[in-house]
């Protein structure tokens, strides 16, 4: 990543980090119970719910990786976001209302809690917890690495500390994250997410505007790209730079897999009044669409600027956003954008820190019929433990973590989406089949990705998939198939406990 150590950019990053620390102090003083720590005291309005769900969902990938991916594979990359038109409504109908109402009748703080209530099976809940832990480590590791790299570039750490600069960058980011997440739990997470989500939207809109202006407007941008040998018209075509099956896989995985993302679903437990969920698709979907403007704006403007000869071709596509910011936006906008990128990374990281600690302190012990006595204390300690484990893995196995990060979304989606989106509406789905579906999604996704990428064992076969098909899409479809077929074959009208049945019928 290019150096971003300009005075106003450094100032923006430091002010942002100081603001999150201040919020951490405020939230820590108000965190007195496990309910505060895990679900922020269930006090969120729906506008805040939309904003914090968006902030948790969108990581640094939207700001840094997205424009880079577009530079590499053209507008086919937008298929990752194309489902954004319906996902907020799908979340509302399929899971948000049911999960929030479950939290009305039971002490439901986590997704495995909800799975336990619905299926009454510790095995099902425990399998869900394991899938979440795998996804959490991958997600958290990539966020911490991204955070370290960004701080390294913004604070000019390479010049200050030399070879250990990435480690120092990770340590600074980690210190701030741990400070507010350990003390304030989800209460701090929500409060910082409001700041972070607002910054993300502001930065995305401002940078998109600058990008389209710098490229000369959408018409000039399109003409420049079409006229260039490097990119050509194929760059602008829906399936120009990648097989149609890759694009359809993106659309399917990100459109349906969203139903199994615990860092998003977890936020629905925190809404104060379930009746306010009426406006969730508007607030969540609206904020997501605004935030994605940066992906489209920078993603399409940078190739045009390269084609116009105003930017040098990129050696590393992931430098698209930082280089554009350095060369084409005023320093104050660069500062805002850096704060936005830090926000995107940290808001996702804090959500996963909380979810990971909940798996260790709450979900897995319950799966074994145990209860941790002082959940608040152990939750704080587990937050440190999960974060340090993810950091260690990130430091030791950089490639593996990057790989895990890429398909963490798929793992979580394939594991949890069918059991929740179908199971919360169909009483006939038995616990055994839900467990099989969760295990299928997890194992298929990890197995197919491993076979597709591993080089250690040449004798192992490659996954027998058509060119362009993503293993995650196959795992998601397989998980649905197991749930539906298994229920038809062995399911019967299950005895769901009265209160849960009322929620399912509500």
């Amino acid at each position: 990543m290019p150096l971003l150590d300009r005075p106003l950019v450094i100032a923006a990053a430091l002010v942002y980090l100081a603001a999150t620390l201040a919020i951490g102090v405020w939230a820590t003083r108000r965190t007195r119970s496990p309910r505060d720590f895990w679900v922020a005291g269930q006090g969120m309005g729906v506008l805040v719910a939309g904003l914090v769900t968006m902030a948790a969902a969108f990581s640094g990938f939207v700001f840094l990786g997205g424009p880079g991916l577009t530079y590499r594979m053209g507008l086919t990359s937008l298929f990752i976001n194309l489902s954004i038109g319906f996902t907020s409504g799908l979340l509302g109908w399929s899971v948000a209302k049911r999960l929030r109402l479950l939290a009305e009748v039971r002490e439901v703080y986590t997704i495995p809690d909800a799975v336990l209530c619905r299926y009454g099976s510790r095995a099902t809940s425990g399998t869900a917890a394991v899938a979440i832990l795998i996804g959490t480590v991958g997600y958290l590791g990539t966020q911490l690495l991204a955070l370290g790299r960004l701080l390294e570039a913004v604070l000019g750490l390479r010049g200050l500390v030399g070879a250990q600069s990435l480690l120092v960058g990770v340590a600074i980011g980690l210190a701030v994250l741990l400070f507010y997440s350990v003390g304030g739990g989800m209460k701090a997470g929500v409060a910082t997410d409001v700041l972070q989500g607002s910054l993300m939207i502001l930065a995305a809109c401002a940078v998109c505007g600058y990008a389209l202006h710098a490229g000369g407007g959408l018409g000039t941008i399109a003409a420049s790209i079409k006229g260039s040998e490097r990119f050509g018209r194929a760059f602008l075509e829906p399936f120009g730079k990648a097989p149609a099956l890759t694009a359809l896989s993106f659309y399917f995985v990100f459109g349906i897999g969203v139903l199994g993302q615990p860092h998003m679903l977890h936020k629905f437990f925190m809404v104060r009044d379930p009746r306010r969920l009426r406006w969730l698709p508007l607030t969540l979907g609206g904020s997501q669409i605004l935030c994605l403007l940066i992906w489209f704006g920078v993603g399409i403007a940078v190739p045009a600027l390269v084609a116009q000869g105003r930017m040098a071709p990129l050696d590393n596509p992931d430098d698209a956003a930082p280089l554009f910011l350095l060369q084409f936006t005023p320093e104050i906008v660069t500062g805002l954008a850096i704060a936005g990128i830090l926000s995107a990374i940290m808001s996702t990281a804090d959500s996963f820190m909380n979810i990971g600690s909940a798996v260790l302190v709450r979900d897995l012990p319950r799966a074994f019929g145990r209860r941790v006595q002082d959940e608040l204390l152990w939750g704080r300690l587990a937050t440190v433990g999960v974060t340090l484990a993810a950091t260690l893995l990130a430091a030791l196995y950089d490639d593996l973590i990057a790989l895990l990060g890429t398909f963490s979304f798929g793992t979580l989606g394939a594991a949890l989406a069918p059991a929740l989106a179908v199971g919360l509406h169909w009483k006939r789905v038995p616990a055994s089949v839900a467990t099989a579906s969760i295990a299928t999604g997890t194992i298929f996704n990890l197995g197919l990705e491993f076979l597709g990428r591993q080089t250690f064992f040449p004798a192992l076969p490659r996954p027998p998939l058509p060119p362009g098909a993503l293993p995650t899409a196959v795992a998601l479809a397989a998980s649905f198939a197991v749930l539906l077929l298994g229920t038809v074959l062995v399911g019967r009208e299950e005895k769901v406990e009265d209160d849960v049945a009322v929620v399912m019928d509500c």
């Binding site: 954004i84 038109g85 319906f86 109908w93 399936f239 399917f252 508007l282 979907g285």
Partner: protein
């Protein structure tokens, strides 16, 4: 749409997606596109199956419209060779469909349909709280 119809649709989508993403055949790619467009509609239909009398009809139209928007958009993208002719802003027609059809239309439709259909009322919550209180009492006695 009843629960059985929604589940039948969901099963068809699952089979279409599984075949489309695992077997290398051009017709199955079209099946995968159709499955990807139908999946969200089937899941919403399953989630909304228990509307009160008279309200069901109000969702049928938005769901049909949503399916038409998603399926027509994705199938059009598949059908246009090279993204189709140049259109607005000099972008290929397929890209214009992606940006200005497949994102804003479903969003507006779904926001309107969800808000107008949402039906959690105070009496529902009161009933749930009473059930929860009774359960807590029962557990306390045990």
């Amino acid at each position: 749409m009843g629960r059985r119809a929604a589940l039948f649709l969901l099963s068809l989508c699952t089979a279409g997606a599984l075949l489309g993403f695992t077997v290398d055949a051009a017709p199955l790619r079209w099946g995968a596109a159709l499955a990807a467009a139908t999946f969200p509609v089937a899941l919403i239909a399953l989630a909304d199956r228990r509307g009160r009398r008279g309200r069901k009809g109000r969702l049928r139209l938005p769901l049909v419209l949503l399916w038409l928007v998603l399926a027509s958009g994705l199938l059009l993208l598949m059908a246009l060779p090279g993204g189709g002719p140049d259109s607005f802003f000099g972008l290929p027609l397929g890209t214009v469909v992606m940006l200005f059809w497949l994102v804003p239309l479903p969003f507006l439709l779904i926001v309107w349909a969800y808000a107008s259909r949402f039906d959690v009322r105070e009496e529902d919550l009161e009933r749930l709280r009473n059930i929860a209180a009774a359960r807590r009492d029962r557990e306390g006695e045990e």
